[in-house]
């Protein structure tokens, strides 16, 4: 059964069609990469799933009964869907620790907080920086902190928008390891990324978007061989 089912989404901005009858099913335990050229609608897709953009038509089903397209952002987050943004969106005025505290959500009992935050700090490797202001972190550290904020609430669905944009090779490798470690049978991870080597390293399947439609869905090797994908994406 799919953990997340995107069903015939139409998204329109003014006269511009960002997504056209887009459907996508992500299984639990899977890492799904969504790739495509600029303007293909990748970020719009995540915006719809996380509730920032409302679709004109279509549903986003979490499990059997919950249509995320009808929920508020906060409601979607509480249902266990968390997102990392393309631009690192950490809270610069708060410390790393406080950022993670906020990431844990309002519902977690105070007694469990410290342990949870400590564990996340370990996972993302930012223990030494715990009391630094997030605004003072390096770019890569901000990326990891944001992933950590997503992890704090133990989400069922993780949406990662370009987690390795602007990172060095070493940092990219570390991030790939981190994402592989996040994989769990009851969790689905959706990653948007341009870096093909990175995608190959982490993804079980890829979905190729082009001009708001699905062009290809399947393994990375198949994508590399698909004629249409080569044409639009690799520009040949």
């Amino acid at each position: 059964m799919s953990a997340l089912l995107v069903d015939k989404l139409d998204v329109v901005f003014g006269r511009f069609r960002a997504l056209t009858a887009l459907s996508l099913a992500v299984d639990a335990g899977e890492v799904r990469a969504v790739i495509g050229p600029n303007g293909a609608g990748k970020t719009t897709l995540l915006d719809v799933i996380s509730g920032i953009t409302k679709p004109l038509r279509g549903r986003v089903m979490l499990g059997d009964s919950l249509d995320l397209a009808k929920c508020s952002e906060a409601g979607i987050a509480k249902a266990g869907v968390r997102r990392k943004f393309q631009k690192p969106s950490v809270f610069p005025a708060l410390t790393v620790y406080e950022n993670l505290d906020i990431g844990c959500g309002a519902g977690l009992p105070a007694s469990e907080r410290a342990a949870r935050i400590g564990a996340v700090l370990g996972e993302i490797g930012l223990e030494p920086r715990a009391h630094a202001l997030a605004g003072a972190l390096a770019h890569g550290e901000k990326q990891w902190l944001e992933i950590g904020m997503v992890l704090g609430s133990n989400p069922r669905i993780i949406l990662l928008d370009e987690p390795v944009a602007g990172l060095s090779d070493a940092e990219t490798e570390r991030t790939a390891a981190l994402i592989r470690a996040l994989r769990r049978p009851d969790r689905a991870i959706v990653v948007i990324e341009h870096d093909m080597a990175f995608v190959e390293a982490i993804a079980d399947r890829v979905t190729v978007l082009h001009e708001g439609r699905t062009l290809y869905e399947g393994g990375m090797r198949g994508a590399r061989a698909d004629a249409r994908v080569i044409e639009v994406f690799l520009g040949r």
């Binding site: 920032i52 410390t95 505290d101 959500g105």
Partner: protein
Amino acid sequence: MSGAADSLPSPVNARPRRSAAWLHEPLLVGILLLILAACLVLVGLKPAPYVVNTIGQLAVFAILAVSLDLIWGYLGILSLGHGLFFAIGGYVCAMHLLSHAFSATGVAPDFVQFMGWKTLPAYWAGLTNAPYALFLAMALSGAVAFVFGFASFRSRVNGVYFSIISQALVYVAMLLMFRNDTGLGGNNGMTGFPLLFGYPMGSAAVTTGLALASLGALAAVLVGTRALVAGRIGRRMLACRDDETRLRTLGYGTTRLKLGIWCLSAMIAALAGVLYVPQVGIINPRVLAPDLSIEIAVWVAIGGMGRLGGAVIGAVAVNALKFWLSAAMPEAWPFILSGLVLVVVLALPNGLLDFASLRTKPTWLRNGGGR
């Protein structure tokens, strides 16, 4: 994730930095000590009445500035209509003073006679009772703030949009209060308050008492808001100010957060209005002029926004200067004020606090503060 949490020992000191009490901020402690010193001076040295009155008014303005800083500095919501809540407090207080005087002396207030009425309008009922009047001031300002805030925050009106709509709100309220048929004094407002709790207004005891009450209220507001912003809610406020969408996608209903703080801020402003009116002896629609509401923001910006102590310093410094200069050279005051604003806005992003070199950490204000 839970598995990892079980197996790993907590690697860092889990106590968040800001859970410490407000005592950790030297600026705030200094201000509280100054308030205490001012109280002692008032009681011990018995300065001239106008000095006492001035101290009391400055404390009121400081409360007003703190109320604005709470939502502007910590939530990034600039209200250009805070004069409305100040005025609600002021008007309710004036209504209490007038109905108190009416019941004590039997002489109807000027505007009632002017309108040719025999008694006070029906909605003045019960205002002779001071606790009820205070409750009404708080409830009314809170309710107005709630309705306006709910409509704005729910539809995600924010930033500059919110500022200019709140300005329109106070402007419309001013036009409304200029009407003579509202039963609230119209154009001339309300004045001529002979008594406060049965004591003659203007006596040394009443003047000193009002100043002490204002200083006490300021101290209480500072301690209370400090506790609020230093805690978990304060962190959410900063997070909301810097990236509201992000906070929502982390599962927080930011509308509720903003609405709560907005109403609290409105009620603090109303408290300032309640304390202000007996000290100046008059309230009229001019407190609702949009310029006055902008001036509150100017105090906060000059003092240093996002620091409660900064708001106090700004309000006191600007108003002390205003008291002095608008008597000494009234023509020059607007020029000085506009120059001051421009200097602060352009050269001192953290306001006068930049001068005091009390900037222990908040360099982030440079980036995040202006949103």
